[in-house]
């Protein structure tokens, strides 16, 4: 989903962070507004494949991103299939997946400091209305930085439970994960304050 930067020299790597984010926002918005038809879905997926090919990220990376999103796809698709016509359900889910994959293409090809800088510049005007662009940039950076940490917690919990012969259940997994994440957030808050972030 949100991926770590991968070095490269493709056109997407060279495109400045500001225009890239803007382009992504426009495409995401357009995809969300189009009617849920198979035509829309086909176009969206063709766009995704084209972006990964042009960016030099390749089919392998695309597959990996899809695989990391598999549970999200199930969670979105199943309830929709129950209440909506199948074509609509598939098209709806497909467009969200396309947006996620495009977002991953952005984070794979853009260094985080560049994303922060672009966000701060792009949202500079919100300061007049009490906005805090620096904070938005920081949250973005922390989200990307923290994902491997939370993933690490999940592994630790799974292993600890397996070691004690416990079967995986949602409650026995989510609660410790939440506790560890909140603890981490607390420590991180201290570290941020100590490093001069208000």
């Amino acid at each position: 989903m949100i991926a770590l930067y991968r070095t490269g020299t493709g056109p997407l790597h060279r495109l400045a962070a500001g225009p890239k984010l803007l382009l992504f926002a426009v495409i995401a918005l357009t995809l969300s507004l189009l009617a849920p038809t198979l035509w829309m879905l086909g176009a969206a997926l063709a766009l995704v494949v084209a972006v990964y090919a042009v960016a030099g990220l390749g089919a392998r990376e695309l597959g990996r991103q899809l695989w990391t999103s598999r549970w999200l796809i199930v969670i979105m698709l199943v309830p929709q299939l129950i209440v909506l016509p199948p074509v609509v359900a598939v098209a709806n889910t497909g467009r969200v997946v396309a947006i996620i994959l495009l977002a991953a293409a952005v984070t794979l090809t853009t260094r985080v400091p560049a994303v922060i800088e672009a966000t701060e510049r792009g949202l500079g005007w919100t300061r007049r209305f009490g906005g805090n662009p620096a904070l938005v940039g920081l949250v973005l950076a922390l989200t990307i930085t923290t994902i491997p940490v939370i993933a690490g917690f999940a592994t630790v919990i799974r292993e600890a439970q397996a070691a004690r012969g416990a079967r995986m259940r949602l409650t026995t997994f989510v609660v410790p994960l939440l506790v560890m994440s909140l603890r981490h957030a607390d420590d991180l808050g201290d570290a941020l304050a100590a490093r001069g972030v208000e």
Binding site: Y5, T7, T145, G196
Partner: protein
């Protein structure tokens, strides 16, 4: 105006006393803080860069009053925690260190040069573009140290920086803190061998500063009482 000066400092958390009546004048370079769990060591350390405010009494740290000059103080006081993971803000090693220099109006090249220099100093240059979370715990603490020292703080506070490290990494961090720093250091630790290498030791017990003096003497007494 160097040094730390506390007069009758007390700290309470929701009516619970964490520190009481702490008075101390510290100008030594390396200051060890020892005491059992819950004795108030971290609270004392956190006072020094304004993470915690005194409930009573007055405090001056390198000429600044933490209660009113917290922002200024944080620029002058670096802090290292024990949890190596929770101090990383940016995805890669070099980006994380560079983050400390944001908003200082430095040119890009200047930032890059200073980051490279400090990463070389702590043996992290080869990992500059690696994801910070992929480092070992010891390397993460060296990264935290780099990210703090690049701002050239006047005082460094370290709260059990070696708590989660193995012997070799403890030695590396200890050498960096105790032998290689020019600035004042407050080192909270349960590792009495590290405390022994400081110039003065403070002993906290139940929120009180119960003894202060040469580490050799104080640690011997501490060990006797906890035997």
């Amino acid at each position: 105006m160097t040094g730390i000066s506390a007069r009758e400092v007390g700290v309470e958390f929701d009516g619970r006393v964490a520190l009481r009546g702490v008075s101390v004048e510290l100008t030594e370079r390396r200051i060890a803080v020892i005491g059992s769990n819950g004795s108030g060591k971290s609270t004392f350390a956190r006072l020094l860069n304004g993470l915690v405010a005194p409930t009573t009494g007055s405090l001056t740290v390198h000429g600044l009053d933490p209660a009113h000059q917290a922002r200024e103080l944080r620029r002058r006081v670096g802090f290292i925690f024990s949890n190596p993971d929770a101090q990383i803000i940016m995805p890669t090693v070099a980006e994380d260190v560079a983050y400390s220099l944001r908003g200082r109006g430095l040119a890009r090249d200047e930032v890059r040069d200073r980051v490279t220099a400090i990463l070389e100093r702590f043996g992290l240059a080869a990992h500059a573009d690696a994801p910070a979370h992929a480092l070992s715990s010891g390397q993460k603490q060296l990264l935290a140290l780099s990210a703090v020292l690049i701002t050239e703080p006047a005082l460094l506070v370290a709260d059990e920086p070696t708590a989660l490290l193995d012997a070799r990494n403890t030695r590396r961090i200890a050498a960096a803190l105790l032998d290689e720093l020019p600035q004042q250091l407050v080192l909270v630790t349960h590792d009495l061998r590290l405390a022994a290498r400081c110039d003065v030791a403070l002993w906290f017990d139940d929120g009180r500063l119960i003894a202060q003096g040469s580490p050799a003497e104080l640690l011997a007494r501490y060990e006797r009482e906890h035997a």
